[in-house]
Subunit: 367 residues, 2 copies
């Protein structure tokens, strides 16, 4: 047991009036929590996808209406392709035709795709509407819905168009996760383990102890897992809203992971599967530089979560080349997040091509 009181919201403290709460409660409490966040009933715009809508559209509309809200629901196709200019425009058109004003909140009911897209729409409609995140996937509840990164994809790459824009409220209802497809659960676990590896050794030890229950989505551990992982993300983004420093450690495994996704073609792996494999590369590289890294503990947990394989047609140079267009680059060099030990990470660009190739070869299982 983690012995945490999940009734207590986690506050994200930011300058100006940008601070907000992560509230861990049922959707039925949403109107009360929206009032707490300063929002008053009127029109609201709900952005969701058709998969999520099938489960939660009616309950959400019902609970909003009961407090006097007038929700307009836009259910977009599920999937990464929805993070596009075309769907952004669809939101703009629906919102403006509906005659919104500057106080009309935008609610994102969905996973990372919906949260990123709806948040970007909220940030750019009338120069910024109030925004509420209701994440429905594990990856969104512990990672993407927290911290204000919003955006869409561009033909040149993912998330190339976007904004930092903070929500007024994130309502996290871990019961929503039981309808999640199994592969989405597993995918989200990669980000949970990432948070533990970069910031919280005790949490990592708990994950090790509970790994069977975690992979099986045992109701006894789900809410603890979400609360603890969301808290790590909250702490890091509170310290570094715009990713000038520590926030970059959240990209652990992602320089490799993005390159793997890109080389393989988007949609073959889930994001979490690619990040999981990317973390194996990053753990290998970390051990090469830091003898305190207990790489076997880390690799063991990552393998228990997912172990997809890459077709032999994809070579190590393909993945290395895909890194060169990663937008995380601040200038000419890629930055790598490495572990100093389990629970502590740092950023460096002081690695050689042969370090990179060795790490990719390891993650691909091609010694």
């Amino acid at each position: 047991m983690l012995l945490q009181n999940k009734e207590i919201p986690i506050h994200i403290d930011l300058p100006g009036d940008r601070g907000y709460d992560l509230v861990f409660s049922s959707i039925s409490a949403l109107p009360a929590k929206m009032r707490d966040a300063g929002l008053r009933p009127g029109k609201c715009l709900v952005i969701t996808d058709t998969n999520v809508a099938a489960h939660y559209r009616n309950p959400l509309v019902s609970v909003l209406s009961s407090d006097g809200w007038d929700p307009f629901v836009l259910a977009l196709p599920a999937g990464e392709e929805t993070k596009s200019t075309a769907h952004l425009t669809a939101i703009y058109n629906a919102a403006l035709a509906w005659n919104i004003d500057r106080k009309t909140p935008v609610l994102a009911l969905g996973g990372g795709v919906i949260g990123d897209l709806a948040g970007f729409a909220a940030s750019t409609l009338l120069r910024g509407l109030p925004f509420v995140q209701i994440p429905t996937s594990l990856i969104a509840q512990v990672d993407s819905a927290i911290g204000g990164k919003t955006g869409i994809n561009h033909p040149e790459g993912k998330n190339l168009i976007g904004a930092f824009y903070q929500p007024k409220l994130v309502l996290i209802d871990s019961k929503l996760l039981y309808t999640l497809p199994r592969r989405e659960w597993t995918s989200g676990l990669a980000e949970v383990v990432k948070h533990a590896l970069i910031d919280d050794e005790a949490f990592f030890a708990w994950i090790e102890a509970e790994i069977r229950q975690i992979v099986a989505r045992d109701p006894r551990i789900v809410s603890d897992l979400v609360y603890r992982a969301a808290g790590i993300k909250a702490k890091i983004v509170s310290e570094d809203e715009f990713e000038h420093g520590k926030r970059a450690t959240l990209n652990f495994g992602h320089t490799f992971g993005h390159a793997i996704e890109k080389a393989l073609g988007y949609g073959v792996f889930t994001h979490g599967e690619a990040v999981n494999m990317g973390m194996k590369a990053a753990v290998f590289m970390s051990r090469r530089f830091n003898r305190k890294v207990e790489h076997e503990r880390a690799l063991s947990i990552l393998s228990l979560i997912s172990s997809p394989t890459i077709p032999s047609s994809i070579g190590i140079p393909d993945i290395r080349m895909a890194m060169s267009t990663d937008k995380k680059k601040v200038s000419d060099r890629n930055h790598f997040v490495l572990l100093r030990r389990i629970g502590e990470a740092y950023v460096t660009d002081d690695v050689t091509v042969s370090d990179i190739d060795a790490a990719i070869a390891f993650a691909l299982g091609r010694p």
Copy 2:
């Protein structure tokens, strides 16, 4: 004489690291001022229009190159239609194909259209690139380039998509204004007079004293006029970055002006002409509520600047109806900025339809 030292930049003090300087100097000083603002030579993206490019593209590229910058210039068509999704996408495509990184600055060289569009592109590329304003019109030098409002138009209305995004530097070279078409100069004077009316009676008195030289764009007064008017805008946006309060007074004349532009069809009047006529309505309404308003002084200056007429086919109800979709509405009612006296303004929604109609009738010269 206003007796101001225009060598001293005007600092806009904002929370976080969002403060920046308005620097009054020649374009030749741009590289040094960019260094002062923390920008280091590398790639940069220059957005301009073809009219401005004809005069200033080569000098700008030359001065940037001399300090080691590698500028890519995108010259878009001149005119309001350029503030569109299509041209925003053109900037995204050019920037991303050119392999920008998070430190690549976007420079806007142009009037309000280019500044708003380029600023919005800067705010949304890679979740925010450094942005530099080099305003070339009077309206941009004293108003639109200052304060971080960026955006594009939507078929439903102007500026409906956008963001608050602060530049790192605004370089104001009033010598650029001598190549401005006469009607653009006059249009900008409307915003200058607006600043004086809402905030600075002494400046208004100076305008009265120098009105012939001002209308004639006399070199002896141009730099003083720009420095003083820009300073008023700077003061107001420093106090109220996100338009929660005082900044709304900058909309003096705009509730009427936007409605006039819309009812007439965009492009018939310039923005400044519509605002000028809108201010006549607003002065009339101000006097109705506040006997201290010296309406004849205000109206006299406004008429000396421009006195376009509206075709008789446009009726008072057409203009009133156009107000009902103004995005400045916070909720159901329009807000009006009124003068308490020359040099002091406030916001109210406590006006009747007959007040509005009387003000429109006055501005249209239809008693």
